[in-house]
C-alpha cells in the first residue's frame, strides 16, 4: 500500500486551474521528485499535501487516512513533515532551541509548562546537530547562520521527530555546489525509514537522490516513473522542448 496517495486533486484560484486532476503516489521510504517548469503546480501540490491549502477537489490519503481537509498540525502529528521553500527557522532562538522546538511538538502541555522533557531530548538533539554539521553552532542564534546552514537546520527540524513523510520544497535553493552535495549525503541515511517528496529545480540533485519522478505541467501530471524512464520519456521531452 502506498504511504501517500493523491487522487484527482484539483486546485482552483478563480478561473486558474493550478492543479487539474493530479494523481500520484509515494511508497514508504521512497524518495519521490516533483519536477516541472515554473507554474506547473509543484508547490501548490506540496501545499495541498502539507495542509497549507485545502484542495478544491479530489482526495489525499496518508497511511490509509483521508487527510484532504485536515489542518496542518494534525497532519504533522500523523507523521508528515515539511521544509518550506523560503527558509523559516526561528532567527532569535539558538540552533539548539530550534531543534528542541521541533522535537517537543508532540509533548503534553503540562510537561512543557513544567519543562520536564528538555533534559531527555539532549542526546538526540546533539546527535541530530552533529549529523547536520551544526553541532559547533548549537549555541549561536539561528539568524546568523549562513543560508546553507539555515537550510540544513530546517531539514534537521523537519527530520528530528522521525516523520514518515518529509516534504522538501527546494531544499538546495541558494546553496553552493559543495553544500548541495553535502545535502544529498546528509539525506541519504534516511532512505528506507522516511519517504520524501522533493521539489527541486536542480535536476542533477534530483537525479542523484530520487527513486521516482513525477513531472507536472500546467497542473497536470505529464508522466511518472523511475529516473531512467523519465529521462527517456517522449512526453516529458515534449514539455521541456516546447518551452525552449
Amino acid at each position: 500500500m502506498a504511504l501517500l496517495e493523491a487522487e484527482g486533486v484539483v486546485q482552483l484560484y478563480g478561473a486558474l486551474r493550478a492543479l487539474d486532476g493530479v494523481a500520484f503516489s509515494v511508497a514508504e521510504g521512497q524518495f519521490h521528485g516533483l519536477v516541472g517548469p515554473n507554474g506547473s503546480g509543484k508547490s501548490t501540490l506540496m501545499k495541498c499535501i502539507a495542509g497549507a491549502e485545502i484542495p478544491t477537489g479530489g482526495a489525499i490519503r496518508f497511511a490509509g487516512t483521508d487527510i484532504t481537509a485536515l489542518p496542518p498540525e494534525r497532519r504533522a502529528r500523523l507523521g508528515i513533515s515539511l521544509k518550506f521553500q523560503i527558509t523559516s527557522v526561528m532567527p532569535n532562538l539558538t540552533v539548539y532551541d530550534n531543534v528542541l522546538l521541533a522535537l517537543q511538538a508532540g509533548d503534553r502541555l503540562r510537561d512543557l509548562v513544567r519543562s520536564l522533557t528538555r533534559g531527555g531530548y539532549d542526546a538526540r538533539i546533539r546527535e541530530t546537530l552533529a549529523r547536520f554539521r551544526l553541532i559547533e553552532r548549537s549555541d549561536d542564534l539561528a539568524g546568523i547562520l549562513s543560508h546553507g546552514q539555515q537550510q540544513w537546520l530546517e531539514i534537521a527540524m523537519a527530520l528530528v521527530r522521525q516523520p514518515k513523510l518529509l516534504l522538501l520544497d527546494e531544499p538546495t535553493a541558494g546553496m553552493s555546489p559543495e553544500e548541495r552535495w553535502a545535502t544529498a549525503e546528509i539525506l541519504e541515511p534516511v532512505r528506507g525509514h522516511c519517504a520524501m517528496v522533493i521539489v527541486e529545480h536542480d535536476l542533477d540533485f534530483i537525479r542523484e537522490i530520487c527513486d521516482r519522478l513525477t513531472v507536472l505541467n500546467q497542473g497536470v501530471v505529464v508522466d511518472s516513473g523511475t529516473v531512467a524512464e523519465i529521462q527517456n520519456s517522449e512526453k516529458v521531452r515534449e514539455v521541456y522542448l516546447s518551452r525552449v
Binding site: A50, G51, A52, P71, P72, E73, A76, R77, S81, L82, F84, S88, V89, M90, P91, N92, L93, T94, D97, L100, L101, A102, Q104, A105, G106, D107, L109, D111, L112, V113, R114, S115, L116, T117, R118, G119, D122, L141, M157, R161
Partner: protein, 337 residues
C-alpha cells in the same frame, strides 16, 4: 553597555534592584508617593498583561482595558450592591472576570481554523474595548459617565485596607507573585513555543503545534492578570469610570510596554514607572504642554530604540534568553525575563 561587571545577568540585576527599591520605598517616602507607587504597581499588572500578549505570544491586543476595567466594574458593583469586600473573595472574583472575558474574546478572535492575521486581532480587541466603554457610559446601573464612586474598602476580616503602606505591600506581594509566575512560564519549554509563535507562527503549525490554543491560553492568562489589576485599582482609588475600560487605558498599556522594553517582563514594569513619574513631573512643571513633551519623548524612544529603555541596558542575546531546564553540566538560568 552592560551592568554586569561580575558576569551577572543584567535583567536579574535589574529585577533585584527594582524589588529592593519597592520594598524600601514606604520607609522613605511620604504618603503621597506611597499611593503614587501603589498605582504604578497596579498599572504594572496591566502592562505585564499586554507584554504577555504582544511581547511573548505575538497577539496585538488593543483591548486589555476591557479585562482591566471590566473586572474593576464587576468588583465595584459587587462591593456596592452585595457588600462583597473581602480580599479573599473580591480579588479572585476580579481575576475570574478577567479570565472569563478574555477567554470569550480570545475564543472568538483566536480559535479560528488558520491563525488569524494580526490586524484582525488588533481591531477585534480594540472593538471589544470600545464596546465596553460605550456600555459603561450608557448603562445607568454602572453610573454612566460618572462611573461608580465611593467603592467600599477592601477588607481582611473586619480590618479595612485603605490606601497606604498596608495596601502598598499587598499590591507588591501580588505583583511579585504574578511576576514570578510569568517569569517561570515564559522561560519554560512552553515559553519556547511562544517564542516560536512570535517569530514564525506558520512554521509552528507545520511542526504540529495548534498555535491558536497556545495563543488563547496566553490571552486568557493575560486577561486574568489585567483583571486582578483592575480590581485592585477600583478598590485603591475608590471609584471606577468608563475610561478605565476604554481605548485610552488600552493604549496606555501598549505605550508602557513599548517604552520600557517589549518582550521583557521587567521592561514592562520599568516602563510604567518611567512614564508615570515623567508624566507627573512634566505635568507639575509644564501644566499646559506636558502631554506634547511626553508624546515627543515616547516617539523618540519608540523610533530610535524599538527595544525600549531595557534595550539600553540589556544585551540582545540576554533578552532572547533560554528555555526549559538545561541538561546537567550546562549553565543555568541567564535571568532573561
Amino acid at each position: 553597555m552592560t551592568l554586569n561587571p561580575r558576569g551577572w545577568p543584567v535583567i536579574l540585576v535589574l529585577e533585584v534592584a527594582v524589588l529592593a527599591a519597592l520594598l524600601a520605598m514606604p520607609a522613605g517616602l511620604d504618603h503621597f508617593w506611597v499611593i503614587f507607587v501603589t498605582r504604578v504597581m497596579i498599572l504594572a499588572l496591566l502592562a505585564i498583561s499586554f507584554d504577555l500578549c504582544w511581547g511573548y505570544a505575538g497577539i496585538m491586543s488593543f483591548g486589555q482595558a476591557l479585562f482591566f476595567g471590566g473586572a474593576g466594574y464587576a468588583v465595584a458593583v459587587a462591593a456596592r450592591d452585595l457588600e462583597i469586600t473581602s480580599v479573599f473573595i473580591a480579588l479572585p472574583m476580579a481575576v475570574a472576570v478577567g479570565f472569563v472575558l478574555s477567554l470569550f474574546v480570545g475564543w472568538f478572535l483566536l480559535m479560528t481554523r488558520f491563525p488569524p492575521p494580526i490586524i484582525f486581532v488588533a481591531l477585534g480587541t480594540l472593538t471589544g474595548s470600545y464596546i465596553g466603554q460605550r456600555l459603561a457610559l450608557s448603562w445607568y446601573y454602572l453610573g454612566g459617565q460618572n462611573g461608580i464612586p465611593s467603592i467600599p474598602s477592601l477588607t481582611v476580616g473586619d480590618y479595612p485596607l485603605y490606601e497606604g503602606p498596608v495596601f502598598y505591600y499587598m499590591v507588591l506581594g501580588l505583583l511579585l507573585g504574578v511576576y514570578l509566575l510569568c517569569r517561570w512560564l515564559v522561560r519554560s519549554q512552553f515559553g519556547l513555543v511562544l517564542a516560536g509563535v512570535r517569530q514564525q507562527e506558520s512554521r509552528l503549525t507545520f511542526l504540529g503545534y495548534r498555535v491558536q490554543t497556545y495563543k488563547t491560553m496566553m490571552f486568557a492568562l493575560a486577561g486574568s492578570i489585567a483583571g486582578l489589576g483592575g480590581g485592585l485599582l477600583a478598590f485603591h482609588d475608590g471609584f471606577i469610570w468608563p475610561n478605565s475600560i476604554g481605548i485610552l487605558v488600552s493604549t496606555q498599556a501598549v505605550i508602557f510596554v513599548l517604552f520600557g522594553g517589549i518582550g521583557t517582563l521587567i521592561g514592562a514594569v520599568i516602563g510604567v514607572g518611567a512614564i508615570e513619574y515623567v508624566g507627573f513631573e512634566l505635568a507639575d512643571r509644564y501644566p499646559q504642554i506636558w502631554p506634547i513633551i511626553l508624546g515627543a519623548l515616547l516617539l523618540v524612544v519608540v523610533m530610535f530604540r524599538p527595544t525600549g529603555l531595557i534595550g539600553l541596558l540589556v544585551p540582545e542575546r540576554e533578552r532572547y534568553g533560554r528555555f526549559g531546564k538545561p541538561p546537567k553540566g550546562e549553565d543555568g538560568d541567564d535571568g532573561a525575563a
